[in-house]
Amino acid sequence: MLEAFLTSAITMATPILLAALGELLVEESGVINIGIEGAMLAGAFVALAIAYFSGSIALGLAGAIAAGVAINAIFAMLVVNLAVNQVVTGTAVSILALGLTGVFYRKLFGVTGKAFMVAPIAKIPLGPLARIPLLGPVLFNHNGLVYFTFILVPALWYVIARTRYGLRLRACGERPEAADALGLGVIAIRWQALIVSGALTGLAGAFLTLAYANTFVENISAGRGFVALSVVIVGRWNPWGLAAASVLFGAAMALQFGLQALGTVVPYQLFLALPYALTLVVVAGFGGQAAAPSALGEPYRRQ
């Protein structure tokens, strides 16, 4: 029981963490991307559509990456090159993606409501590790995307905190005019962060359709992208903090099903609302923007 719950928590946490790590890169460079929800949705849809019609999961994943990158590219053109308000642009991008995925979904799969299923991505149990009591199945019996996300946490920590590139990245988010005066190339770095983030977020969406639900429904992301934004805040812009926060929210989502199964008298809507309410509470308690990169969210234009 506990094992099922914890495993579920990790599964739920993965797409959130994946998207949040991508967003972390973007925010360290000084940009806040509300369009992350749209990129996730686009990745989810494209992954399913390609996997369904081609039969290849790999192609589906590739498509998801391309979709996420494309969505973020639209965002980047406006926000990085034209220095437009980031919040409104991001919201518009999310609306756009919601509409596009909806329209194309109906066109490709019809209105019949028949669920178009794909076979899920195979799980890869990690041999002896998977046999450790409790921890084994919970942590080491997942599909490749989950393991990838595990590895991404320390990798990203190292890149951001310890490498030259990470230093340049943070400089852009700290004070873009100074970074440009040093020839660091703020525009290029922000684009790079958005592209990588687009790939990661697309993959996160792919996880939803290829590994979790095995089909696509309208608005399948259900706000997970926005939750990822909160995860970055609650995790205080630190990859380890992000991991912890994601697991917390994943657990809240897993709780929905666990408690429903218990058949309590508490209405199921409470559990559906729980992750969002919890996000609110935690952000209220720990959500100070003091730990954010100094220039986060401020439009910047080279003179």
Partner: protein, 358 residues
């Protein structure tokens, strides 16, 4: 003045062009789709009236969003605020049978105002006192509101026969009646227009509105002039929520008469497009709302005759917002009269001869 009308039109024209590309990709005929949209929206007297009916909630949410955005408060939660306002109205509505009509209407609308105000006020308080980014809080509150609605229609407010997930119908006394039946023109629309005028006056003719706009343009400078930012933030968010909540109550009172799931087809997000097309001017909200209401209305005909799902309207909304934002940057137009997030480093200001070095 002319340029401020020309821009939204140009943006819409470009959006139409881009939509045509999307439609072509879907194998549909752009001309056919636009014709269907137009026909569905304005093709008959009934269609026109229905367009107005569909525009009404957009006026309320559009006003809510434009008011908040004028203060640089990014209220993405108009949907949730509308929903909570509707819940309040739908909860009290069935019990107003014994009141005189005017009183019942006043009560049910007041309930909507209060519900929306609370929902908006929570986000406002969180921003004012806890420095919580209102984008996140309002989005989260949206999701919570959806679940709250689901709960009440399956639970405490569920209609007595327990056959359908809706609430009990509101009392006749509390229903806004239709004029020129069978058209659905009702008092709510008139209320919307009056409120648009009131919001305009508030924003441009009062001291409080001035402080709001100052806070929106340059928050830091506002603090140097005794503008009490935390209080203003809270009250603006509450007012914004109140407007959206009122829209929800009007919807219940005039049109749906009861609560059910998925009350709002995304009016809160659509309101952002409405607000931008209106350039955050409350008077401009009315034509902008009619435009998007027309799209909503026409989209059903479009689905019937052209086989394109109504989500296309969201594509249009998203594109319109993006295009307006792209058009509006100093990078393109050289004007500094852009609405949002004018980069506030000194370098953004065209330096002139005596450029201060500081």
């Amino acid at each position: 003045m002319l340029s401020s009308i020309a821009k939204p039109f140009a943006a819409l024209a470009l959006a139409a062009a881009l939509i045509s590309i999307v439609l072509a990709a879907l194998g549909a005929s752009p001309v056919g789709v636009f014709a269907a949209l137009g026909e569905g929206a304005f093709g008959s007297w009934y269609a026109c009236v229905d367009t107005i009916v569909k525009s009404t909630p957009l006026v309320f949410t559009g006003l809510a969003v434009s008011l908040a955005f004028s203060g640089a408060l990014w209220n993405i939660g108009a949907d949730g605020q509308l929903t909570i306002g509707a819940i309040a109205a739908g909860a009290i509505g069935p019990h107003l049978g014994n009141f005189p009509h005017a009183i019942a209407i006043a009560i049910i609308l007041a309930a909507g105002v209060l519900g929306g105000a609370v929902w908006g006020g929570v986000a406002g308080w969180l921003r004012a006192r806890r420095d919580v980014n209102e984008v996140i809080s309002t989005i989260m509150l949206n999701f919570v509101a959806v679940q709250a609605l689901s709960w009440v229609v399956h639970g405490p407010l569920m209609e007595p026969s327990r056959a359908y997930p809706t609430s009990s119908p509101i009392a006749r006394a509390a229903q806004l009646e239709f004029y020129f039946a069978p058209s659905r023109i009702n008092l709510g629309m008139i209320l919307a227009v009056v409120l648009a005028a009131a919001c305009y006056l508030l924003l441009f003719r009062t001291g409080a509105g001035f402080e709001l706009r100052a806070m929106g343009r340059n928050r830091r400078a506002a603090t140097f002039f005794a503008v009490r930012i935390p209080a203003l933030t809270f009250w603006v968010m509450a007012l914004s929520g109140a407007l959206a909540g009122l829209g929800g109550a009007v919807q219940i009172s005039a049109i749906s008469h009861r609560l059910y799931e998925k009350l709002s087809p995304g009016w809160g997000f659509e309101a952002i497009a409405v607000a931008l097309v209106a350039r955050l001017n409350p008077l401009g909200i009315i034509p902008a709302a009619i435009l998007f209401g027309a799209l909503d209305n026409g989209s059903q005909a479009m689905q019937r005759t052209q086989g394109i799902s109504p989500e296309l309207v969201q594509v249009i909304q998203g594109l319109v917002i993006l295009i307006i934002l792209a058009f509006d940057t100093p990078a393109w137009s050289g004007l500094r009269e852009n609405i949002f997030g004018a980069p506030h480093d000194a370098a953004a200001v065209p330096p002139v001869a005596e450029m201060p070095d500081a």
